[in-house]
Point group: C2
Chain length 490, copies 2
């Protein structure tokens, strides 16, 4: 969840302060409603050292009625804590109905102290969600460079010097390891019931907006659900208020894709040279892969006309047709529909030593099925974990799993659609559905952003391919495949 | 789940065959209804070697329309299987809507081959339950002696000799270890969505009845749920059929408690001698426990007038009052009600080196709250896992956890109630509620049987105390406490 985050986001819109004020007022309203409905709320702040957890908690509580919340700094275990089971100090601090408890660091520290497994953490949270609690989890992330700067600033100041210790510096020095450690934990505990929100915390205003927006939305949903249940038992319709969604700045939603530089290009000469070299290496690697019995899964997703087909072709051109299969994914047929949505992909996973290239994939669940309503909210939300688990099984078996998002912008897509319609031999490639999908570009972008964050894992990473230039895109895909195979066969 | 099972149960009622026939007819009806409703069903058979899985599958399928089911013997991985991720051979064999797939051994073998963790197994099953599958899991258990007998008989017969191998004999020789290994796995995968049914498989007819009854009930529930959903979307009431419950023999429901010998007694002289000795040892152990900082939790449950108070007193008499606390559990107060139901117990758990004795406990959730409807079916069913997880946290912290069920029969309770009412200084001990509970004896017995099976773990075992004779009961409790402390402080 941390690998693909663009940490440099800023909230530099004219009306940022105004928006924040509106969110604060809304949160105050929601707090009163949660109290009336008896909803207990836990808000967790985790993050890298010096990422600003304390500051952000201070910022957040401005929106809250002080009679209804309490902040618990959970840095170190007290003597009393140590004399009890590890979860004791957390369980005894869980909120009563209608109250908000904010944890500055939480039970997640138990993972790093070898006191809790991710499974135990999930069990712990689940029992509270099942009991009607709302759990909102924030993870504050900054770059290694920024962390270094902040730690230095803290050390320079006499009054804050004590806050920096050796382990902070060692974390900073091993920033990449730190990211990986946290990422593993976050992915394993990003449940449907209690999801993580990663907060890009370089810019304080951006972080504030993201935290307030997320909290307000979560509270709105909890209120809606509780009112729904109350209404159901009282036999009348729920009083559904909304509002937070409307308060969002249109640019605020932008995620991973917004940071992609689509200007990258290759000349024809560069392209030919690189392609020749890469395909040669790929052919040799494909052979080794077969001999060493390593299975490979390549998963292609992307905008319509994003160039999936072309990229796949540059791979298959290079390799022995007996050793790979290309699986195009269309709408499921009747037999497939009668099974679990992942069944048809399991059927196609490669034998050891073989390569399967999926042209569109199981990620349809969290894109087209989500947007077109073919999957319920419950279904597509739990799909992230189902997919992560499935890919983990592939990786456990030694499979090389690579996922590509072929990324173009809206203008480029228009040009390609146009060209397809005008070229007789390409007309089959363009359908009414493509035009309909194009109208939902923003919805897809949001879904893709979420998908990439939630399902980028070390074992099965997403690669966003800058694909406005077809040559650049094809070479980048080839490079990633060759690199990954070289590493796997090393 | 296996520790407290009485394996010697028999179905020797006059009308057993007739009842089995009725169940078969009912299952046939339900199969048709499941097909109409498009419910996929998986039935898993696991168990000790020679426990009769094959026979029982053969027996079960007699009730089914052969066009609608398929049996998959999953003994060994094929070459093809080995060339895929471990779960591949199972995922690709999962049933389409409306079909029944029966697995003779299943993905649970992956646990013993170090291919799957209990967590991965739960994830695997959960995705199918979430998708509308019914998963019924049977575990067939026999005694070590019976296993030996059956293995010998198989070896003797030329045509079955090949079925017995070295590992079967080594399992039989280490029967206790085998039970423990399976028990750990069963407890960790006994989920609310896909629970285990342990089948006492010494007597074939008993096993047949239990399997058919369990299957029929599970199908009935699945049909009811699916009809409910259909009705909800069609806007009309569900057509709820029942029937299996009525087919059960009244003795069939008897579980752990039925096998308890309540005739055990001690003379007054034996009692005094043993008590003196045990209390002396307990005092010394209590001191050691304090010095070694070992926390202890004693949990007392039992029938009203079962003698909890008397047993607790014989413990506390012996030990330093600064080192223990007795916590009586009544209905939760308002503050407690505003929290998770386990919160008030977490508040009371002992510090290291201290002992907390609970007079009634968190098990109220699966007894009185279940029976009186204070907890919903969903709530008390998920409580088994919540409680097991909580006790696992105590055990992880080094806590000695002992749970006692003070068991008397209905006549003895009547006598004690009578005596309480007639003795002025004991009258406070008897209330109208006690009489009301007594009327629900059978319901309680069923709940207690289920509770003991589902929450007896190696780290936090249940002890059923034969308590018709107060002296015998008090000594047995003291012995168990002394033994456990001696082991823990060894």
């Amino acid at each position: 969840m941390l690998e693909k985050i663009d940490l440099k986001k800023k909230a530099n819109w004219e009306d940022t302060d105004e928006r924040i004020k509106k969110l604060e007022i809304r949160i105050g309203e929601l707090q009163r409603r949660c109290k009336e409905l008896g909803i207990p709320i836990m808000v967790l702040f985790e993050g890298y050292e010096a990422s600003g957890k304390g500051t952000m908690i201070g910022r957040m509580i401005r929106a809250l009625d002080p009679r209804g919340f309490q902040v618990f700094p959970m840095e170190k275990e007290t003597e009393e804590d140590k004399m009890h089971p590890y979860l004791w100090r957390f369980f005894t601090k869980t909120p009563a109905k209608g109250r908000i408890h904010i944890f500055d660091k939480s039970w997640y520290q138990g993972f790093f102290d070898d006191k809790l497994t991710p499974e135990e953490i999930r069990q712990f949270e689940k029992q509270f969600v099942d009991d009607g609690n709302l759990i909102v989890k924030f993870f504050l992330a900054i770059t290694g460079k920024e962390q270094k700067k902040r730690l230095k600033a803290l050390e320079k100041n006499k009054s804050t010097k004590w806050r920096v210790n050796k382990s902070d510096w060692s974390e900073n020095k091993n920033y990449d390891e730190q990211v990986l450690r946290y990422d593993t934990l976050l992915i394993k505990t990003d449940t449907h019931e209690a999801p993580w929100t990663v907060v890009e915390a370089m810019d304080r205003k951006y972080a504030t907006m993201k935290i307030l927006t997320t909290l307000a939305k979560a509270m709105e949903t909890a209120v809606k659900n509780a009112e729904g249940m109350k209404a159901a038992s009282a036999g009348k319709d729920a009083e559904v208020e909304s509002g937070v969604a409307a308060m969002e700045h249109e640019e605020f939603k932008n995620g991973v894709l917004a940071g992609i530089d689509l200007g990258k290009k290759l000349t024809d000469e560069e392209y030919r040279k690189k392609k020749k070299d890469l395909q040669k290496r790929l052919a040799i690697l494909h052979n080794k892969m077969y001999l060493k019995r390593v299975p490979v899964v390549l998963a292609f997703e992307g905008w319509d006309a994003g160039g999936k087909g072309g990229a796949i072709k540059r791979i298959t051109q290079a390799i022995d047709p007996r050793g790979y299969e290309v699986v195009p994914t269309a709408s499921p047929n009747d037999i497939e529909k009668a099974h679990h949505y992942l069944w048809r992909f399991w059927e196609k996973f490669p034998k050891d030593g073989h390569m399967t290239i999926f042209d569109r994939t199981w990620y349809g669940r969290v894109m087209v099925e989500r947007i077109e309503g073919f999957a319920t909210e419950d279904e597509w939300k739990r799909a992230y974990a189902e997919i992560n688990n499935m890919e983990a099984q592939l990786v456990k078996n030694g499979t090389v799993v690579l996922k590509f998002w072929m990324h173009i912008d809206k203008d480029e897509q228009a040009a390609r659609f146009q060209s397809r319609q005008e070229t007789p031999e390409k007309q089959w490639k363009i359908t009414d559905e493509d035009w309909r999908n194009r109208e939902k570009w923003d919805e897809y972008e949001k879904a893709v952003d979420e998908m990439i964050v939630k399902t980028s894992t070390k074992g099965a990473p997403w690669h966003v391919i800058e694909a406005n230039d077809k040559r650049y895109a094809r070479i980048k895909v080839l490079e990633i495949v060759v690199d990954a195979l070289e590493k796997a066969l090393h």
